[in-house]
């Protein structure tokens, strides 16, 4: 069973999802461009999806509930992207910038 050693373990997928999620969090905090903030959110959602799919395949192989959850996450992500970019467009029309540091309308 030498081939068994080369199969991908579940932890590899979890580690990859952790890398992707932390990259997304860092980009979410540090991006100056508002479009890049939305991209970072998409990265984080993809990391969560990788986790769901990995658990669905490795732990729950017959009732693939993780895949159903991933489909719902994809749906909500699409809705979030549409509304987020619409909000971004109207913000750009008001402030004429995409710099996150200048969106301080709620600061008191």
């Amino acid at each position: 069973m030498t081939l068994e050693l080369t199969t991908v373990p579940l932890q590899a997928y979890l580690a990859l999802a952790a890398i992707l999620f932390c990259t997304g969090v860092w980009g979410l905090i540090n991006s100056r461009n508002a479009v890049r903030v939305l991209m970072s959110i998409e990265l984080m959602l993809n990391a969560v999806n990788i986790n769901l799919m990995a658990f669905s395949s490795y732990v729950d192989g017959q009732l693939i509930r993780g895949q159903v959850f991933a489909i719902f996450v994809i749906t909500v992500a699409a809705a979030e992207a549409a509304v987020g970019l619409a909000i971004l467009l109207s913000l750009y029309r008001n402030r004429e910038t995409v710099d996150m540091e200048r969106f301080n309308l709620l600061r008191w």
Partner: protein, 199 residues
Amino acid sequence: MTIASSTQFICFVALSAAVAIGALGVVLLPNIVYSAFLLGGVFLSVAGLYLLLNASFVAAAQILVYVGAVNVLILFAIMLVNKKENLAAIPGLALRRVLSGAVCAGLFALLLRVAFSTPWATPGPVPLGDEATIRIGEHLFSDYLLPFELASVLLLMAMIGAIVLARRDVFASDIVTGEPADQGLIEKSRTPLLLEKPN
């Protein structure tokens, strides 16, 4: 497993390298157009990972929704707001980056520790393979019927909300005070890509 284990391992290594490097490029590259295209690459690589995990339907949905819709939407948003501007310097930006990097590294260490120290219940049942699509359909129309219908309502709400937020209406006068409104919002110099006024 439908493909040999070593091939699967090589595919996993290549795809995960593409995902990790692409995600770093999305976050770090100064040009946002490159970031958007790299994001498409990351989405495609994630779809490949789904294929490795015996989920062909979700991989197809990932390509259709993320690469086909979300990425194109982001590219259009970049085109609509693409104005060269010099970002003003902010005091303490480098310190903030280092601190948030430390926080993210700590989060990463925590996630890794959880992933490697938890005794997962593997190996579970044998994965379904090609019948996964049938099983997803059964799930969506039996025990996940209510979330499925709610998702359709959510998509409708998001569509109408996006139209309402992004439409470009400027009234001739302020409806509260009656003063002439700021018509500069429909001038081409301030909002590019606007069509000529019809009259």
